[in-house]
């Protein structure tokens, strides 16, 4: 049963990725639509990461006791300043581990 479920899930994830690049799908994109879609990467990626920082167990957490918020703030600064993906990840992970550890003391 689980095997069948997994196969059907695979079909779903593939379909959501593939459907709109199928050539025979009758969809034509105008210049306006293309412009609109050009904002999809920052929009979707942001809509994924921001709730991870601010929402925990369904509750809003905007206090400075929130290790996610501390580490994310430093990561945003690091990314804006250096534009380096490795440096940003390093700053983020170190500050996350440290602030979790220190806040738990």
């Amino acid at each position: 049963m689980t095997l069948l479920t997994i196969c059907l899930m695979a079909l779903i994830t593939f379909t959501t990725r593939y459907l709109f690049i199928h050539p025979r799908l009758p969809v034509r994109l105008g210049a306006k639509m293309a412009k609109f879609l050009s904002y999809s990467a920052p929009a979707v990626l942001t809509a994924i990461w921001v709730p991870i920082i601010f929402v925990q167990q369904g509750q809003l957490n905007v206090s400075w006791q929130n290790p996610y918020l501390i580490a994310a703030s430093l990561s945003v600064l690091a990314a804006a300043k250096t534009k380096s993906i490795y440096f940003t990840m390093f700053v983020g992970l170190v500050s996350f581990v440290l602030s979790r550890y220190l806040l738990a003391l």
Binding site: Y18, S38, A43, V44, S84
Partner: protein
């Protein structure tokens, strides 16, 4: 000196691998979490490995493992997977004009590999155009697939020895990766508006437990970016006309 074709292909493959490498490493905790969770929730090894092998989607895997373990109905599992995965429609649409012309072999390949991560590296105006950029996309996306599979297998193997990892804050690794990708991409006002809208709305919709929270927030944010761009364009057109008139005057005098 012109590069030989083979050398150019090799360089592009290398670049694809190196550009994806930080993301491949960043999903290590997430992949181990997915693999070990499947084992801890009594999935067989085959089932646990089929997840990254054919479903190949972190958040769908994580959520569906819990749902299946809790004996949720098949329809609910599939519907939830569809909702979580529906953001990929946007990626396909955004790359449609470039990818629809490809031979089917490439199209199926890139389509299968079109994750958040590969899409994040496909922002270039000419992404996936021409053989070299296709090689780049295939190696970047393909390496992500292999690493994802590898981290999941590590989780499956170590699964019964690991404690429950779901409350360790491993999702922060995903967040910091996306911060590192998004923040440097804010190069103009429309993108800034998009990011701010997406951030505020996604939190709001999540708190309201709106099922399509992610996609709804993204769509409204994209529209915000689009409107900002149009507004800037109109303003520039007005100013541009004034400048043109001045130029003509100067030209005459």
């Amino acid at each position: 000196m012109a590069l030989s074709k083979q050398k150019a292909r090799w360089l592009m493959a290398q670049k694809g691998f190196l550009d994806m490498l930080p993301l491949n490493l960043a999903v290590l905790p997430w992949g181990i979490l997915c693999g070990s969770l499947a084992i801890q929730r009594d999935f067989s090894v085959l089932e646990a490995i089929l997840m990254p092998l054919i479903v190949f989607a972190g958040s769908v895997q994580l959520v569906s493992i819990e749902l299946i373990a809790n004996q949720t109905s098949l329809l609910t599992v599939l519907f939830t997977s569809f909702i979580i995965s529906s953001r990929h429609f946007l990626y396909g649409l955004a790359l449609r004009d470039k990818l629809k012309k490809l031979p089917s072999k490439w199209r199926y390949g890139i389509g299968f590999l079109l994750t958040d991560e590969l899409f994040a590296l496909s922002g270039h105006r000419k992404a996936c155009v021409g053989q070299l950029r296709l090689i780049y996309a295939l190696v970047a996306g393909g390496s992500f697939y292999i690493f994802w599979l590898l981290w999941n297998i590590v989780g499956v193997v170590a699964g019964s020895y690991l404690p429950d990892l779901t409350h360790l804050g491993l999702d922060f690794a995903i967040a910091v990766t996306f911060i590192a990708l998004v923040i440097p991409s804010i190069i103009n006002l429309p993108v800034l508006v998009t990011v701010l809208c997406a951030g505020v709305l996604s939190v709001l919709f999540k708190l309201l437990q709106f099922e399509l929270d992610l996609v709804a927030a993204a769509l409204i944010a994209m529209y915000g970016g689009y409107l900002t761009d149009r507004w800037l364009q109109r303003r520039a057109d007005k100013n541009g006309n004034v400048v043109d008139k001045n130029k003509t005057k100067q030209g005459i005098s």
